[in-house]
């Protein structure tokens, strides 16, 4: 019988296909023995895995043989289990030790700039899970045929990368979040995805109709439903085609308001296939790719990468964010290990100021590239005006030292991300050249809803009035002092959030390159004709700001400045 489950939309599109249920390896645990027993179990599991893959390799040919050959080489290498064996010796169970060690190994490949290396993450996941299955004594990962609906509690990005999406497909998760890494991958790949279905995800099987627009899943859809789904699918693909055909045109609302749409760049290769004329510049370059690239301490390579982006943009602004490590982006030897709550710990500019040597290298490369075009520098996770002042001082020193060396350099505009509620609330205390609202983290921090551990009951939404009030206040402040305010979080590319963002006064959005066309299409459907709406959203804040600026509000004002 037909039944419908509702979750949250994480990647748009509609797909009907057979469910493939992945039971979670995470749900299984080993009964832990002595360190010697645990080490023996791990060594045995690796040996069994090596024999299995060896046997598979000898019966395979071509590419499959080569891939399996690589896996055999990895499984034969003691270095693969070195970290895990050290953890076991210190009392960790074999399965957890192996999981943790491989997570670090796999992350190293997932974040590589080079697609050849990124693709190796899937091999390592394969190796990890095969060994884990032997350690746990379970058969858990079935073959996923192309064109399947993958159903799981949660899905690591690496598994996503290992599946064949060439025949379409969809993802339904019990947990998960729309801002997780795997959701970003699904959107980039055009795979419809629904998250947060809850524990009922375990009941799904058979044919599923996945609606990544509404965030729902229909199990055992009847004939009427299938007709309706096909109709909506056709309408959605027509809209997509229409949006693509107008990619090169500017985004103008019904009432004639021009909205700038820029792109977010996670790796220099992101811009290769895109014509710079179809966007208004780059609103965010995530420089964390420098780590996988081995360029964190290499000024010349960074300069070459930044120069490449400036040349691509051909005069349009290129906003480059300084290293945003920490939180869910650990870097061995740089971030602080073992934080109990890394999202509230050493992240972003806090870490940069802790590592001025690394920070100076990046600022030198940025100042040199700034001499060649419209480059802007943006600081992540700014919480106090002192952080901005300290970063500015270092930037000025760097520019002066470059000039003293007769190396061409310019002092780029220095702006801040507004993602910590403290910065949003006291935005008038920050003398930044521009403000860019990081809506993913702002939502997470304002609503106390973790971005990555799925179920918070759907409270972590951009459309929460508290979040919109902050965004409206920042936008109003920017208008008042004549400095640009943009938004570079996922909400910028979400058609459901765009009307609220424009209503709050945001006039520049920065989105993933794959979302450029539909973002522009969504903007074109908005009518801002009722100008009073904006004032209504933010009037509460105007009163607060007015109070803070009045003589009686001076106590509240002083706090930060002293």
């Amino acid at each position: 019988m037909e039944s419908k489950l509702t979750g949250r939309a994480a990647s748009p599109g509609i797909f009907v296909g057979p469910a493939v249920v992945l039971s979670a390896l995470a749900a299984h645990q080993r009964a832990q023995g002595s360190p010697a027993e645990e080490e023996g179990a791990l060594i045995a599991a690796i040996a069994t895995s090596r024999d299995e893959v060896s046997a598979l390799a000898s019966s395979a040919n071509g590419e499959a043989n080569r891939i399996l050959g690589i896996q055999v080489a990895l499984l034969e290498d003691d270095a693969l289990s070195e970290t895990a064996r050290a953890a076991i010796a210190s009392g960790v169970a074999a399965d957890n030790a192996w999981r943790d060690a491989m997570a670090v190994e796999i992350a190293g490949y997932e974040h590589a700039e080079d697609e050849y290396f990124r693709a190796r993450a899937a091999d390592l996941v394969d190796v990890r899970d095969r060994v884990l299955r032997h350690l746990l004594g379970v058969q858990t990962v079935p073959e996923v045929a192309a064109g399947s609906v993958v159903v799981a509690r949660d899905l690591p990005p690496s598994l996503f990368l290992g599946f064949d999406w060439s025949q379409g497909g969809a993802i339904v998760l019990g947990e998960g979040s729309a801002t997780s890494h795997v959701a970003m991958l699904a959107r980039a790949r055009g795979v419809p995805m629904v998250v947060g279905i809850g524990s009922k995800v375990d009941t799904l099987s058979g044919t599923l109709a996945v609606d990544g627009e509404q965030g729902s899943v229909i199990a055992a859809p009847g004939a009427t439903t299938l007709v309706e789904v096909q109709r909506r699918k056709a309408a959605s693909s027509r809209a997509e085609t229409e949006a693509r055909s107008r990619l090169g045109e500017p985004a103008i609302t019904r009432d004639g308001t021009r909205v700038a749409v820029m792109i977010n760049v996670a790796a220099p290769s992101d811009v290769e296939k895109l014509d710079a004329a179809s966007c208004d510049g780059i609103g965010l370059v995530r420089t964390e790719f420098l780590v996988a690239n081995g360029a964190l301490r290499d000024e010349e390579r960074q300069f070459a990468l930044y120069r490449g982006l400036v040349a691509w943009a051909a005069g349009r602004p290129v906003t480059i964010r300084t290293l945003d490590a920490g939180g869910d982006k650990p870097i061995p030897g740089y971030t602080v290990a073992g934080e109990t709550n890394p999202f509230l710990g050493m992240r972003g500019v806090r870490l940069s100021l802790r590592h001025p040597d690394v920070f100076r290298i990046q600022l030198r490369a940025l100042a040199r590239a700034a001499a060649l075009g419209h480059l802007k520098v943006m600081l992540p996770m700014v919480t106090t005006p002192a952080e901005l002042a300290e970063a500015r001082k270092i930037l000025q020193e760097v520019v002066e030292s470059l000039r003293a060396q007769h190396i061409p350099a310019a002092s780029p505009p220095l702006g801040i991300m507004v993602e910590v509620p403290a910065a949003a609330i006291a935005v008038d205390h920050f003398d930044a050249a521009f403000f860019s609202i990081g809506s993913n983290d702002l939502v997470q921090y304002v609503t106390a809803s973790s971005r990555d551990s799925g179920d918070t009951g759907g409270v972590g939404e951009l459309t929460h009035p508290a979040v919109l009030r902050l965004i409206a206040a920042v936008a109003a402040h920017g208008t008042e002092i004549g400095r640009e305010v943009s938004l570079c979080g996922d909400a910028g590319g979400d058609p459901r959030a765009i009307p609220a963002l424009l209503d709050a006064g945001v006039r520049t959005l920065s989105v993933a390159p794959t979302l450029l066309a539909r973002t522009k299409a969504a903007i074109r459907t908005v009518d801002l004709g009722d100008a009073d709406a904006t004032i209504t959203t933010s009037s509460w804040w105007h009163r607060i700001l007015a109070t803070l600026r009045s003589p009686t509000g001076s106590v509240a004002r002083k706090g930060l400045d002293t």
Binding site: L74, E105, D114, R120
Partner: protein
């Protein structure tokens, strides 16, 4: 015991990707000498006989690979590793 060093430019399209890494370690394992690889002349050095460690280096096309060897067949080992890199790992 001899000590030998040399370097070679990675000219194959994919850099020190998985298969080239495995070929490099297979070649290295044929020698008794201790063999190490690095992206810079002053290290950090990694064991040229470990595919896991070589792959972690993620050396891209255009990188220079430095080799050093210590042992009875050090000269020949370094010579063959350099030749393998220059032959683009016999893949292109």
């Amino acid at each position: 015991m001899t000590h030998s060093t040399a370097s070679a430019l990675l000219v194959n399209d994919v850099g020190l990707h998985a298969r080239p890494s495995v070929k490099l370690t297979q070649t290295a394992k044929r020698f008794a000498s201790e063999l190490e690889v690095a992206l810079a002349a002053d290290g950090p050095w990694v064991d040229a006989k470990s595919p896991v460690k070589i792959m972690r280096v993620k050396a891209p096309k255009g990188a220079t690979l430095h080799f050093r060897a210590l042992g009875p067949d050090a000269d020949e080992a370094v010579r063959q590793l350099v030749s393998l890199v220059e032959r683009k790992f016999d893949e292109e």
